[in-house]
């Protein structure tokens, strides 16, 4: 992955690999995906959506329908943040990965806890309560799990892995690669809330409580949207935010996307905090939002439907899919046009 300088050069995984974007993708393409694919063919099991698609979950034929499966590990600092905590994040994250595959009634979740020695039991209790509450909200049981304790310094605090399964009609799954020229792009609400709130909290900036994470399950919202019209592609804009999600969708479908900056919902306090930190709210995580491509005829109906769901009030049509500039996202700023590129590396506040 890194350029060769001398023969003795060893290569190492760096934080940049973990931040999504190109570095992460080449790590997966080179080390992971080639080893794991093919197993299904050998055993006679097939996938409708499998690992090479790098979608939010996998889809396997099962009886008349299909099983959607997804898994996610969560570490976050701080553990409790304005608007949520790691437990809520772990449950919502997995429910949302299923939801954006079109699987809005999850069958069950699993919960694997890895806890560092020295974490207050009260913290664990609080995290578990929050997981239970979020699962109730999403209407899904957490039905199996595993718990490990590691020594001091062996992991950082609490790590939670959750996996989820859902049974759907075989026609139902929505891939993230299905955008078609002409589609409208809809986001379900304001962008950047989770990422900016967390960075501000971590850096000790006091924005007088105006910043809160949006972490929440979105399966109800997606369900209503699916009923209202044809959704061609869908993602939850988590790591790397809207910028990452749209670049991925454009790349996979080999289409371009044109956005109007003015129409993208970003709350006032998030925008100001972003300015101060030098970080673009469009490039940081959301944990309770969806971005989707909708057939143009249905766009207004889908938008109206989302508006009726709590959490969907600020949904907006933010742009269109086009034949031009395939694989790239272009924003009209009201002044001129520029790219919205995939963020690379950890978001780091500017030098001055």
């Amino acid at each position: 992955m890194t350029r060769d300088t001398t023969e003795s050069d060893q290569e190492f995984v760096t934080l940049a690999h973990g931040a999504g974007g190109g570095a992460m993708r080449s790590l997966l393409d080179e080390l992971v995906v080639p080893q794991f694919t093919g197993n299904g063919a050998e055993t006679g099991n097939d996938t409708l959506v499998g690992l090479p698609e790098l979608d939010d979950g996998a889809v396997h034929p099962a009886g008349e329908g299909a099983l959607v499966i997804t898994t996610d590990s969560h570490v976050v600092s701080p553990r409790f943040f304005p608007g949520g905590d790691i437990g809520r994040l772990a449950v919502a994250g997995t429910v949302n990965d299923l939801a954006v595959m079109g699987a809005t009634t999850p069958t069950a979740l699993t919960c694997s806890l890895v806890i560092e020695e020295g974490v207050p039991t009260a913290d664990v209790e609080r995290v578990i309560e929050s997981m239970a509450e979020t699962a109730r909200q999403a209407g899904v049981p957490i039905s199996t799990g595993d718990t490990k304790v590691m020594g001091n310094g062996e992991i950082d605090g609490i790590l939670i892995n959750t996996a989820g399964v859902a049974y759907v009609d075989r026609e139902q799954p929505v891939p993230d690669a299905g955008l078609e020229p002409g589609d409208s792009i809809i986001v379900s609400g304001s962008m950047g809330d989770h990422g900016i709130a967390l960075l501000a909290e971590r850096e000790g900036f006091d924005f007088t409580g105006a910043l809160e994470s949006d972490v929440a399950p979105v399966n109800d919202l997606v369900n209503v949207a699916l009923d209202a019209g044809r959704i061609t592609a869908m993602k939850d804009p988590t790591r790397g935010g809207l910028a990452n999600a749209l670049n991925e969708m454009a790349g996979k479908a080999d289409v371009g996307i044109d956005l109007t900056e003015e129409s993208i919902p970003v709350s006032g306090p998030i925008a100001s905090a972003g300015e101060v930190l030098g970080i673009d709210p469009l490039s940081v995580a959301n944990e309770g939002k969806v971005v989707m491509g909708v057939t143009p005829e249905d766009a207004e109906d889908v938008l109206a439907a989302i508006h009726t769901v709590p959490g969907g009030e600020d949904a907006a049509i933010i742009g269109q899919v086009t034949d031009d500039h395939a694989g790239r996202v272009v924003v009209d700023t009201g002044f001129g046009r520029r790219y919205l590129s995939e963020p690379e590396g950890e978001p780091l506040p500017r030098i001055c």
Partner: protein, 368 residues
């Protein structure tokens, strides 16, 4: 910053009027004009708002040696890496973290087990030292006047004994002179950095304007600020005049922050220094004066990193030309191919203020 402030400067209709005005001015001038700005934040603003697509044909606005990260020389990064490898904790700004030295960046050093921390300010590095008294904390200090002044303030305030500074601070005006004198650089005026001028004051540029007979306008970072400053510069060009103007009066004064400047010059003195890819520039590097010697990491540590030549790829990197305003990033063969933000070859691809990084992120060309 107040919550509503940015919006007043983001009025596309007003921008459109200014663009028309630029059109008229360029028609009057009737020949190509090249303006240079010397600040990464200006490049950011221009690219982020897509302003180049609003500029008339024949007018080019390019970035000069304006990013303190980009002009940090490879051996300076090597010094920081060497100190980290000797067991001290090196604290630095996030932007510096991945800048390649001849062999390694600080990020590489950390992946190899050295202790490197990202901080957001000099005072955060001091807090780190206070909290870890048994460790040596070395602040790898980079940046122009805007960050040199806070570094100076910290040193002036009796930091803990386990704290020291590896200064790679730089001073902009001499670099502008060098660029203005380069024979193949043809600049008709400078857009000076509003942030830096809040500290130095715009009066600082008076001698430059006299010597080089070029206009300088200090500008802010909102789209309207930038367009306004360009308009003022074009007026000077049309009239064939030199002159100095402050188009950012809401932040910048003529004298600057005198107290901060006094502390800065108390702590630092200028020495000649090599700016990455540009040249050795007289009076452009800031080093600690003798009274502060005990806090000077260069004197506290044995920093003589072995220099066995840079990565061969870096020889194809044209950062030097880019920072001298002679080339655009997409003229570099490595741009977007071998050189990307996650695997940068040159420094211009690393920092959020580097031209190549900015072009990679936003696209630099007008006709998207």
């Amino acid at each position: 910053m107040s919550e509503t402030e940015p919006l007043q400067f983001r009025d596309p209709a007003q921008a459109e009027q200014l663009a028309d005005r630029l059109e008229t001015l360029m028609a009057d001038i009737d020949e190509p004009v090249s303006l240079m700005h010397v600040c990464g934040s200006h490049e950011q603003a221009i690219a982020k708002f897509g302003l180049r697509s609003m500029l008339p044909d024949g007018l080019s606005v390019r970035m000069g040696p304006g990013c303190p990260v980009c002009v940090t020389n490879m051996p300076e990064v090597d010094e920081a890496v060497a100190i980290a490898e000797q067991g001290a904790t090196v604290a630095t700004y996030g932007d510096m973290f991945r800048v390649p030295g001849t062999k390694k960046s600080l990020a590489d050093a950390r992946a190899d087990g050295a202790s490197v921390e990202v901080v957001y300010s000099a005072s955060e590095a001091v807090e780190l030292a206070a909290a870890n008294p048994e460790e040596e904390i070395v602040f790898f200090a980079t940046g122009f006047e805007t960050t040199a002044a806070p570094t100076a303030a910290i040193l002036d305030a009796d930091p803990p004994a386990n704290f020291s500074v590896l200064s790679a601070h730089k001073y902009v005006p001499p670099a502008m002179e060098v660029v203005a004198e380069m024979p193949d650089v043809d600049i008709d005026g400078f857009l000076a950095a509003g942030h830096a001028a809040t500290i130095t004051g715009y009066g600082l540029f008076e001698p430059f304007v006299e010597t080089y007979e070029l206009p300088i306008v200090v500008g802010g970072f909102e789209p309207i600020d930038v367009l306004l400053a360009i308009e003022r510069l074009l007026e000077y060009v049309r009239d064939g005049k030199a002159g100095l103007e402050n188009a950012y009066p809401r932040c910048v004064s003529k004298a600057g922050n005198e107290q901060a400047l006094e502390t800065m010059w108390d702590v630092f003195e200028t020495v000649p220094g090599e700016w990455r890819g540009i040249a050795e520039i007289p009076g452009a590097n800031l080093v600690l004066r003798d009274p502060y010697a005990e806090y000077d990491a260069r004197r506290r540590f044995d920093v003589e990193p072995v220099d066995d030549g840079p990565d061969p790829l870096t020889e194809q990197c044209i950062c030097g030309d880019i920072m001298a305003g002679k080339a655009d990033p997409d003229e570099c063969d490595l741009f977007g191919e071998e050189c990307t933000p996650s695997n940068p070859v040159g420094a211009c691809m690393v920092s959020s203020e580097g031209t190549c990084k900015i072009w990679d992120e936003y696209g630099g060309h007008p006709n998207l």
